[in-house]
């Protein structure tokens, strides 16, 4: 067990992708009651688009910013054209979920047509590795974790300190009251989708640099992100982030000490247990789900 610190560090680093996706899921759910299953695909599509720009000569770090903005705009378009027209019928929450599943299928098909299914090599922002607790971590992963941390702090600041961020939290708390106070719900929804999908693009970007750019980039990270979301509770942003990192660590610890072929089993078992025993999430206290 001597390498436990190393395994934990490595888990935290891989967990940053799950935490980012989880945060995106929660931001979107809180503001528009939509569990967005297409969030990873939107991020991946944006990275595919920017990969084309990078190949054409765009600097890589600008590529990251372009990916965030592209994904954010895709998010806004999705909310406007697919989610808002659903209105708020009785089964809205579930129908919106099914719509995003449909969107995921569409994006997949689109990437297939546009870029094929063969993985493409994707450049990293910084080459090289660094030693920590006796294990090596690539700068790419460290940077990913660092940018994830910065993004999360920025988002926390945005929601805590800016009037618009407070207005978004207010909308999540009580959308009707928010409207009564004069908060523009359409703008809140748009910004939430922009932020949610934008941070998903950060996750996709670094996942691609880590291995390769392919349409299934976020498939298994997304399930881990959902595990994190369930751990933290669907409505808690801090919970989602902590949940995402926790899953990253658990997954690594399980992979290292239990079995490399039972890792998914472990993750799904955690989801089922949490959903059954504590539907509000282990960390999610307070408000129940809005339905």
């Amino acid at each position: 067990m001597g390498d436990l610190p190393a395994v934990i560090v490595s888990g935290i680093v891989s967990g940053s992708a799950y935490a980012l996706l989880a945060l995106g899921i929660v931001i979107i759910f809180r503001s528009t009651d939509t569990v967005n299953f297409a969030i990873g695909d939107i991020g991946t599509l944006a990275v595919f688009m920017t990969a084309t720009m990078i190949a054409a000569g765009l600097p890589i770090w600008l590529g990251l910013i372009a990916a965030i903005i592209t994904a954010g705009i895709l998010g806004i378009i999705t909310e406007r054209t697919l989610i808002r027209p659903l209105g708020h019928s009785r089964n809205y929450v579930f129908i919106a979920l099914v719509v995003t599943i449909g969107l995921g299928l569409l994006i997949h098909a689109g990437i297939f047509v546009g870029w094929g299914t063969r993985p493409q090599a994707f450049p990293v922002l910084i080459e090289g590795t660094v030693k920590l607790f006796g294990i090596a971590l690539t700068w790419n992963k460290i940077l990913a974790a660092g940018i994830a941390a910065v993004a999360m702090i920025a988002i926390a600041w945005f929601f805590k300190k800016t009037p618009f961020g407070i207005a978004m939290r207010a909308t999540a708390d009580d959308p009707v009251a928010a409207r009564m106070v004069g908060i523009d719900s359409g703008r809140v929804a748009a910004i939430a989708w922009f932020l949610g999908c934008g941070i998903a693009a950060i996750a996709s970007f670094f996942l691609a640099a880590d291995t390769s750019l392919n349409p299934n980039l976020t498939l298994s990270p997304l399930f881990r992100a959902f595990a994190g979301v369930f751990l933290g509770g669907l409505t808690s942003m801090a919970g989602a982030v902590i949940g995402g990192f926790t899953i990253g660590v658990l997954d690594n610890v399980a992979g290292r000490y239990i079995s490399a072929s039972y890792r998914d089993t472990m993750v799904f078992a955690i989801i089922v247990l949490v959903l059954f025993i504590r539907p509000a999430g282990v960390l999610g206290a307070g408000r129940k789900e809005r339905v």
Binding site: L86, V99, G102, L106, G110, Y262, T265, L275, P279
Partner: protein, 606 residues
């Protein structure tokens, strides 16, 4: 033969004919056999998801797990020489039990959470399949032997397994039709539409959900059996989340709550990949696109949308306003009630009713009786605790331990909400809360069937659900509206139908939550007649209403609540003159320091 039976016979004949066509006489090519087989087992699977979503409002993303139960049972039991018929029974039994247990918890969660939970279970299930190599062949899958049947000397060739699929699909179709047109399906729709109102007629929502989930799971396992025999090879991918999503696509596209919708949906999910074989991305484009388009533009799916259009086009969704509702007078009402229920025999006594929410007493020591056959009015300003009291009576709030509520000798508080109907307790709702997916007639039929034991125990002659429903429809003048959905009816009619529901369950002690709210003058006068009729037939009534004047004119006794305490109780006239009551409603300037304006007013009055 009734039209329903004709239809069933038609389905059986069509199913058998199709089974023969795709059977061993080589009447069609292998490919057609296979498409028919795929269509059949997808139909079964979509039907199972569709039924659950349509009748219970429970969405399962994980029904593939039950398909897996059927499929792996087929693969393993066939190896041991077990005939198909036994496999079918065994997997129905196993899936029902597993589904029932999971279904029990459905009520604990919202639709969304339960959907996600079933998804997580399916993912975990795929993992179990992947690792339980001895039984499932692991991630690589396993070969399925040829089906052995009791009715055929040789094992059935893989390609002829289409026959098995068609027969299973026919069975599933019959079960699906039967459930949605029977008491069972109507009960599920009642629970789905109005959970609280369904408990007031004696239904236990968690049991209904569990039964539905169990049945749906059992049906899904049939799809797995069909799939196993016609594929001859099964592996976990067939039961992955992707497949679960495909079933949801089929359900959404075809339209929920419709057997025919399941046919359309399964045809869609079978045909798209077959037609799109040469263009790999097309299937996903069509799936995703169709799913979104249907949800955005049709909402309820193809078949229900078409039905609604037809109904609208034929004008069946609009009540003919030229036929005025025939008014109900008190005598006729009293006759109706006395035919349906015995007079109340026991006093409902509420003793020291106290309810506390996070330290605040919403009700404090409220004590009064409702003598058999009397009407008691409960009034008080907003926030006085009237709703809390009703919730204690209905079983949704747990009062403090000192509280007792008894009907005769029976301890009401010991019973769950659904147990109170059996004692003859009923309630009506402020917003009628009719079951949105049942017509008035269907609702009354359902409730009348649930009220059977109570009427039998009281030796009421009129007890056939159909007869009871007809009598109520006639007695309450609901005939022109009986075949409409609640949303298509004027609110006044809905409220009368809500009273019909209480009559159908056979309640003789009835709590009424704001019966007068939302009614116009004409409707109010009719409601007065109905209430007078009920009372003169011996029904005990608790009227909780803000329409103080109505309560005062109807009730034998009035209880006034204010800030959770009993402010006054007595006959209407004494209440009308009671200064405490005046103060509660209009305030009194005697105890608080008057503002300048009010002082001026007082001096002007003085």
């Amino acid at each position: 033969m009734s039209p329903a039976n004709m239809r069933r016979l038609g389905i059986v004949i069509a199913g058998l004919a199709l089974a023969i066509v795709v059977g061993p006489y080589r009447m069609v090519g292998d490919y057609v056999q296979f498409i028919v087989a795929a269509l059949s087992f997808y139909f079964i699977a979509v039907l199972s998801v569709n039924m659950l979503a349509g009748l219970c409002g429970i969405w399962s993303l994980g029904h593939t797990a039950y398909m897996a139960i059927g499929a792996y049972m087929a693969a393993n039991l066939t190896k041991m020489g077990v005939p198909v018929e036994v496999i079918v029974l065994a997997s129905i039994a196993l899936s029902f039990v597993v589904g029932y247990i999971l279904g029990l918890s459905a009520g604990r969660f919202s639709v969304l959470y339960f959907g996600l939970l079933t998804m997580a279970l399916a993912l975990a299930g795929t993992e179990i399949i992947g690792h339980w190599t001895a039984v499932t062949g692991g991630d690589d899958g396993m070969k399925v032997g040829k089906a052995i049947t009791l009715f055929w000397p040789q094992p059935i060739e893989t390609k002829n397994a289409a026959m098995i699929c068609v027969i299973l699909a026919t069975l599933a179709y019959l079960v699906g039709e039967a459930v949605s047109n029977s008491q069972l399906g109507r009960r599920w729709l009642a629970v789905k539409g109005q959970r609280i109102a369904s408990m007031s007629i004696g239904l236990k929502p968690h049991v209904e959900n569990a039964t539905a989930f169990g049945m749906s799971s059992a049906i899904a396992s049939l799809a797995g059996i069909g799939m196993a025999f016609s594929m001859a090879y099964i592996d976990p991918v067939a039961f992955s989340l992707d497949s679960g999503v495909t079933l949801i696509v089929g359900t959404v596209v075809g339209g929920i709550g419709s057997t025919l919708g399941a046919v359309v949906g399964s045809a869609f999910i079978t045909a798209v990949p077959e037609l799109a074989r040469d263009a790999q991305a097309v299937a996903n484009f069509v799936y995703g696109g169709a799913m979104i388009a249907v949800l955005l533009f049709l909402g309820e799916g193809i078949v229900p949308a078409i039905r609604r259009r037809i109904r609208h086009w034929k004008g069946r969704d609009r009540v003919n306003t030229n036929v005025p509702r025939q008014a109900v007078d008190a005598q006729a009402m009293a006759r109706l009630v006395s035919e349906l229920m015995p007079p109340a025999r026991h006093t409902l006594s509420l003793n020291a009713v106290s309810v506390q929410f996070s330290g605040l007493k919403a009700l404090d020591d409220v004590t009064f009786d409702i003598a058999p056959g009397t009407a008691v009015g409960l009034i008080g300003p907003n926030g006085a605790g009237k709703t809390s009291l009703l919730n204690v009576l209905s079983g949704f709030y747990k009062p403090l331990a000192t509280t007792t509520v008894k009907l005769g000798d029976a301890d009401i508080l010991a019973l769950p909400p659904s147990g109170r109907a059996a004692l003859g307790m009923g309630r009506t709702f402020q917003h009628a809360e009719l079951f949105p997916e049942l017509t008035i007639r269907q609702m009354l039929l359902t409730v009348a069937a649930l009220g059977r034991p109570l009427r039998r125990a009281n030796q009421i002659a009129l007890n056939e659900p159909e007869a009871v429903a007809e009598r109520i429809i006639g007695g309450l003048g609901l005939a022109p509206y009986a075949d409409y959905m609640p949303s298509e009816l004027p609110f006044g009619v809905q409220k009368v139908a809500d009273i019909g529901r209480v009559l159908a369950i056979g309640a003789s002690v009835v709590s009424m939550d704001e019966p007068f709210s939302g009614l116009d003058e004409h409707e109010r006068s009719e409601l007065r007649a109905i209430l007078r009729g009920m009372r003169s037939a011996g029904v005990s009534i608790l009227i909780i209403d803000h329409a103080v004047q109505e309560v005062l004119s109807l009730a034998d006794k009035v209880v006034v609540l204010d800030f959770g305490k009993m402010l006054a109780t007595g006959e209407p006239d004494s209440i009308r003159r009671n200064p405490e009551v005046m103060k509660a409603y209009f305030g009194s300037s005697h105890h608080v320091e008057p503002s300048p304006e009010t002082s001026a007013k007082e001096s002007a009055n003085g």
